[in-house]
């Protein structure tokens, strides 16, 4: 946090899909697990300054944009209800497990130079949470669970001024961070069928239009979608 450094882009893959996986056509029911969404500013000294209003706006905008995007693919998104008691513990366990799983995929598969021996064969994407994960979808009739993690740090005015002044002194300073990932888990088998992770995303999630752009990036290469980026649609105001 205290040391200034410039960010170098490594050759990194952004998404993976399980070999031979085809999404249940046109009628998939997708259970949306409470997304982790953090939005705030980045101070001059690169500290994250959480912002409650921006986060609330982003949650709303991203939720609406997601429903629209999945609707266009013919899928239905069900928002997971907040569980109570033993079910709450199960849900907490699987949310925690997913974040570890996603980190592992990003670290040990998406970076080709760092790939585990078992992940080296071309086209292989073999990760699972185990069949026990079915329990979190019990009673919802959902086929898949969708996990979303999104973190935005918008460069503060101070950070931007620093960036400009630094540039005049031939020093490169990065302002802002926009990272996220989305993953789809088959609730019957527990297999991770698709994951997309991006460390540098566009779209201002604080606005409905920006959130649509962000969702389009988060869902890039989503099973059943075309590889083309989705055309911008009118904002739902």
């Amino acid at each position: 946090m205290l040391v200034s450094s410039t960010h170098t882009a490594h050759a990194q893959e952004k998404s993976g899909i399980k070999e031979g996986f085809v999404l249940k056509e046109q009628s998939a029911k997708i259970l949306l697990i409470r997304p982790t969404i953090k939005v705030g500013a980045q101070s001059t000294g690169r500290m994250f300054e959480p912002n409650a209003d921006w986060t609330a706006q982003a949650k709303e905008n991203l939720g609406a944009a997601l429903a629209v995007a999945q609707g266009r693919l013919g899928n239905e998104v069900i928002v997971a209800e907040e569980p109570i008691g033993a079910a709450a513990e199960k849900m907490a366990d699987y949310r925690a497990l997913f974040s570890v799983l996603a980190d592992s995929v990003i670290r040990y598969q998406f970076f080709p130079g760092n790939r585990l021996p078992t992940k080296k064969r071309k086209g292989v994407f073999d990760w699972t949470m185990g069949p026990g994960v079915a329990e979190i979808g019990k009673g919802t009739g959902a086929d898949y669970a969708l996990f979303i993690h999104n973190e935005d740090q918008y460069g503060s005015t101070g950070r931007k001024i620093l960036q400009i002044v630094a540039a005049m002194a031939y020093v490169s300073v990065k302002s802002g961070e926009h990272a996220g990932y989305a993953g789809l888990v088959d609730l019957r088998t527990g297999d991770l069928v698709w994951l997309n992770a991006d460390r540098a995303m566009g779209g201002d999630v604080r606005t409905p239009e920006g959130a649509q752009k962000r969702i389009a990036q988060l869902l890039e290469d989503f099973p059943g979608s075309t590889s083309k980026p989705a055309p911008a649609i009118a904002a739902a105001k």
Binding site: M1, L2, V3, S4, T36, K38, G40, S43, T44, G45, R46, M47, E49, P50, N51, A52, D53, T55, A88, E89, M91, A92, D93, R95, A96, G158, L162, V165, A166, A169, Y170, V171, V173
Partner: protein
């Protein structure tokens, strides 16, 4: 009990060092961008924590700890507090700005009386009441801003070069150092403030304020034992390191004793009630402590807990500690600790298990007999199959 009796007469009156209790606002809502942002983060963290397996869900124990908080800070103030007991063997507790209080099991194991627990939780509540998270956040932000600007000056001076570049870079580096120093010295000052406010709570509580300083004296001894066991240099207590977030234990023990002496207040330490409340959890807490692989620190802790009486569960824990280190001489000691534990509590199957395993490694022919006894007492033990293979 005599655990908290004050032995030294007051060196000088320090009663004025304690602040008056601030006016208390019930159901406070966060104000401004920074505070609302911090609360949002903590609310989200609390959702995850509430359902986490790291938290011990024993309503009786949680209620007991909560009652201690309430007796310390008063009924009004404690209404804001949600207590979570974290299964973590380190000595720690914390309180988030939104009223979430975390109490580590390592603290519950080390405190010897309710008054000691009250002093620590009062200290955490003081951080909360003084809104230290927010102030610390703002202070760190200012300091890191300065650091970053000075960093650009350093890199710029190097990139541009020319005469005087070295002097400029050097001056900017020293600005960076003082910015970093300010973060840590601010943190230490907040700790002192929280200590003083905790003493103010203790003054109006039923507890004896002398207990607070005694915790730090014991922690120094435990840290010395740990350092000795790990062949490390013992940490010095007369010098504050650059990156220290807290005042040294010695400093705290000293000023807390002076304040308590100046208060001239006696109170209960409620050590017996504390012991009763924690008894059921002792085996679990001791097992977690032993897994830390800190032989001498743990032995110091066990000896302190036993004081004049080694209970069956403490003897068993000591047996486990010695057996885990496992030098031939430790195995001999372990067997005798298990034997004493069994003498007090013949139903302790685990003690037979430990004794049998220690005997087995010492090539003692009695081992088979002892392990058979364990299996007979606990036929559905999860390690039944493994122990059985050892017997063949």
């Amino acid at each position: 009990m005599a655990a908290c009796l004050a032995a030294t007469p007051p060196a000088f009156a320090k009663g004025d060092a304690i602040p008056a209790l601030p006016t208390y606002t019930a159901a406070y809502e966060p104000q401004g961008v920074d505070e609302r942002g911090l609360w949002m983060q903590m609310d989200e963290a609390e959702r995850a924590l509430r359902d986490s397996k790291a938290v011990i869900n024993d309503p009786g124990l949680v209620q007991y700890v909560r009652d201690v908080v309430c007796r310390t800070v008063g009924e009004d103030r404690c209404r804001t507090v949600r207590v979570y007991i974290l299964r973590d063997a380190s000595f720690n507790a914390s309180m988030a700005p939104n009223g979430m209080m975390l109490v580590h099991t390592g603290l519950l194991l080390r405190a010897r009386s309710e008054a000691e627990l009250a002093a620590i939780l009062g200290h955490e509540f003081a951080h909360f009441e003084l809104r230290h998270s927010l102030n610390g956040f703002k202070q760190r932000r200012t300091a890191t801003d300065i650091f970053e600007w000075a960093g650009v000056v350093v890199s710029g001076a190097v990139a541009v070069g020319g005469r005087g570049a070295y002097q400029v870079a050097r001056a900017a580096r020293s600005v960076q150092m003082s910015a970093v120093r300010s973060i840590f010295s601010n943190s230490r000052e907040q700790e002192r403030q929280a200590d003083r406010l905790s003493m103010a709570y203790l003054r109006t509580s039923p507890y004896d304020p002398q207990c607070f300083s005694q915790i730090w004296s014991r922690l120094m001894d435990e840290a010395d034992a740990t350092a000795h066991g790990r062949r490390q240099r013992s940490r010095r207590y007369d010098k504050v390191s650059f990156f220290a977030t807290h005042p040294t234990d010695l400093e705290r023990a000293t000023y807390l004793r002076e304040i308590a002496d100046g208060m001239n207040k006696s109170g209960a330490d409620a050590a017996e009630r504390y012991r009763t409340a924690l008894t059921a959890w002792h085996p679990q807490l001791l097992a977690d402590q032993i897994r830390l692989n800190d032989f001498e620190g743990t032995d110091y802790l066990l000896t302190g807990l036993a004081r004049d009486r080694w209970t069956a569960s403490l003897l068993f824990a000591r047996g486990e500690l010695y057996r885990t280190r496992g030098h031939p001489r430790d195995l001999v000691s372990a067997v005798s600790f298990y034997r004493d534990a069994i003498a007090q509590d013949a139903t302790n199957a685990e003690a037979y298990r430990g004794m049998g395993l220690a005997q087995l490694r010492s090539r003692d022919p009695q081992a088979a007999e002892t392990l058979k006894k364990y299996l007979a007492m606990k036929p559905d033990a999860s390690d039944n199959a493994m122990i059985s293979t050892l017997l063949q």
